[in-house]
């Protein structure tokens, strides 16, 4: 309260104003809570529902929830401070309610010491008389504002909608990895003494599936064996709960494991003969296929392999004799993605993909046709070797280009380039290994350096 005239005791009017201010502050707090809490509650609920569908760590979810609650608290405080009635407003309400002529306003806001004591005493007396007309409980009851009703209603509707929509969204968007599902089922089964052995086997299978060194046949065989055991156990089981659990496990093995094994198998196959070109070039469809057109005719099988490699979006330059998943973790991811629709893998490539594939395979094949001619002198490099942004068919944004040969070609040991059909004016190229993939140690012509670059590239490296 601003006015504390002289050293006199507080009058009834001033006490009344204090009580009224406290009451109105409580009203403002309720208004704030009713307006802020439901929407924030709904928002946090929605967030939790959405995050439940993800594989986010619980601590991260907790952090997000804590941040949301903190934001709600900040908003509440901010809104409350904005809507807390100040002393002049409280005094004006008291004036209006009691019919006083700004007695309370003057009393509450008057700076002390500037006016005669007799005037202030008189003002207090008159204000107290007016104050007797006010009964705070009766005259200032709490009423929920329309906006609060609106906020609560909207929040409730939002929660209901989330409740309805979330399962649909989650069901469609989220397909848990098979191994995670197997681990989950194994945990559940481990809780049942009669299913403990099966749980252990399920865990072992999950571990096997996660092991990139294990062969696909091995995985599939193990899965089939376990499936049989589960079916047998299911027949023996008396309790419905256990039967359900076993049914779930069986279903997971039937669908998910087979898919995973199949996709892993196919990706491994691709890897085996996996010729491909990987770069950070923007994928431009036809343009890229032109760009990649190398010299020489490609072999049919290498075309297919290169196609599937490009389709898979393989990255990195895996070592020839290492399993696919170790060489390139993204392949595993690709395999997972392919689980959802394994048929897609067998589909015919689109036109654009075909273009890319052809280019890629030609490139791969073209590298075999090395030249025995002396190195070119004073001849500009091929268009594709221009620095980024230059040349006829510029390599926009190219930072690096790696070339990976199919394994069988690499095994042939034909690493020397030959005169290319498309080499301009029949000019020959230097007899150098053209792959930047490390050469196998048993090849007699293997270069001493691990990744020898074609001479065309050397001028570009600074």
């Amino acid at each position: 309260m601003q006015a504390q005239p002289q050293s006199q005791e507080r009058s009834g009017a001033e006490i009344l104003l204090d009580r009224l201010a406290a009451k109105l502050n409580r009203h403002a707090l309720w208004d704030t809570l009713l307006l802020i809490v439901p929407p924030f509650g709904a928002a946090i609920y929605a967030l939790l529902m959405l995050l439940r569908g993800t594989e986010m760590d619980s601590w991260a979810i907790g952090l997000i929830v804590i941040l949301s609650v903190a934001a709600a608290m900040v908003a509440t405080r901010f809104y409350y401070r904005l809507h807390t009635p100040n002393i002049p407003k409280v005094a004006q309400l008291a004036d209006r309610q009691s019919g006083a002529k700004d007695h309370f306003l003057t009393l509450a806001t008057l700076p002390s010491g500037n006016y005669p004591v007799s005037f202030i005493t008189r003002l207090r007396r008159e204000s107290s008389a007016f104050g007797n007309r006010i009964e705070i409980k009766r005259d200032f009851p709490y009423k929920i504002k329309r906006s609060a009703y609106g906020a609560m209603g909207a929040s409730l509707i939002a929660v209901l909608l989330i409740q309805l929509i979330a399962p649909i969204v989650r069901g469609g968007a989220r397909v848990a990895p098979v191994t995670a599902r197997l681990h989950e089922l194994a945990d559940k089964m481990a809780a049942k003494p009669e299913l403990k052995s099966l749980a252990r086997k399920l865990e072992a299978l999950a571990a096997k599936l996660e092991d990139p060194k294990a062969s696909a046949q091995e995985k599939q065989q193990l899965a089939q064996e376990l499936e049989k055991q589960i079916e047998e156990q299911e027949k023996r089981e008396d309790t419905q709960e256990n039967r359900n659990l076993l049914g779930e496990a069986s279903g997971a093995l039937e669908g998910g494991v087979e898919q995973q094994v199949a996709s892993a198998k196919s990706s491994k196959e691709q890897e085996k003969g996996g010729a491909g070109i990987q770069s950070n070039l923007p994928q431009k469809g036809q343009g890229q296929s032109k760009e990649n057109q190398g010299a020489g005719a490609g072999k049919g099988d290498s075309k297919t392999e290169a196609k599937s490699d490009l389709q898979q979006g393989n990255t990195g330059t895996p070592k020839p004799n290492e399993p696919a998943q170790q060489k390139n973790p993204q392949q595993g991811e690709t395999a997972d993605r392919n689980q959802t629709d394994p048929k897609q893998m067998n589909k015919e490539p689109t036109k654009e993909q075909a273009g890319k594939t052809q280019g890629g395979s030609k490139e791969g094949a073209g590298t075999q046709q090395a030249s025995d001619q002396p190195p070119p002198q004073g001849v500009s490099p091929a268009d594709r070797f221009y620095p980024s942004g230059e040349g006829k068919q510029s390599l926009q944004g190219a930072g690096y280009v790696t070339v990976q040969l199919p394994e069988e070609i690499a095994a042939d040991g034909k690493f020397e380039s030959r005169p290319g059909k498309d080499s301009k004016g029949g000019r020959s190229r230097l007899q150098v290994p053209v792959s930047n993939v490390p050469l196998p140690a048993h090849i007699p012509n293997a270069a001493s350096e691990k990744q020898q670059l074609p001479i065309e590239y050397r001028g570009m490296i600074r």
Binding site: K101, D102, L110, Y115, P116, V117, F119
Partner: protein
Amino acid sequence: MEGRLMQPEQFQQVFNRLEAEVQKVIVGHHDLIREILIAFFAGGHVLLEGVPGLGKTLLVKALTHALGMSFKRIQFTPDLMPSDIVGTEVLTDTSGRREFQFKKGPIFAHVVLADEINRATPKTQSAVLEAMEEKQVTVFGESHVLASPFIVLATQNPIELEGTYPLPEAQLDRFFFKLLVMPPAPPELREILKRTTGAEIPDAGRVLPDDNGDLVNAMKQLLRQVMIAPPIEDYVVRLVHATQSDGQNGAAAKTSVKQYIRFGSSPRGAQAIILGAKGNALVEGRVHVSYEDVEKITLPALRHRIILNFQAEAENITADQVIGEVMKQVPRQ
């Protein structure tokens, strides 16, 4: 301060008696009489505007009589000279010595009625300026203090504008209030006829004693002690600011009537509002100003301080309309 202060009840009592005495002579015009008295106790001057025959001069005479103070009337005409108002030095012969002696003009009175002030030339009108503001006049380099209390009650006729000299803004600003004297309503006219056409013409009785200077000064001092809450002061500031044109640093206040204002109120306008509101509060038996007091006083305090532009004249917009709109648009808080 506290010991010499008059009691608010005493102020109210004296004020009410003065009102009652004037109302014995003047029919109606309750607000007008009250506002003149408030201006008197606030130490201001009043410009009365009305057509002839509405009792302006009679009102001033009755008021003077009730106050028991000296009264002079100056009829302003185009050939009136400043010396006719303030006085002049005349050569006198006293005991064989000839010397200049100051002969006081009619301005040396407690209550001065400047009748039809807009008929005098600006030069003569400006002679009243110093008297109104400084409460003194200077003749041949010598200053002469005027009587205290001192009030100028000027009248002007809104019609018959030919041969008149509209008061300059500087002089208008020195009037505390500008009050409009309106024709009486039929019941009031009936009462006027009854009082003035009978055998006995009533006269205002004297309220204040002979030695009334101290009492009036005490009342003036009391008026200035009336309390005003800071939010109400802010309201007055916002009101005055809202009347100012954009060129006068009034750009922040957004009112739809600004398009009609050439010049807004000066700080004297805000002073007049607060002092007038304090007087009104005392008259109503309060020792503090309320928003209602302010709103009641704003119109007479500001109407002559706002200079309207050509657009307002073309659209027949009056200062009262502009102020009314400003009061509507400026919130109390």
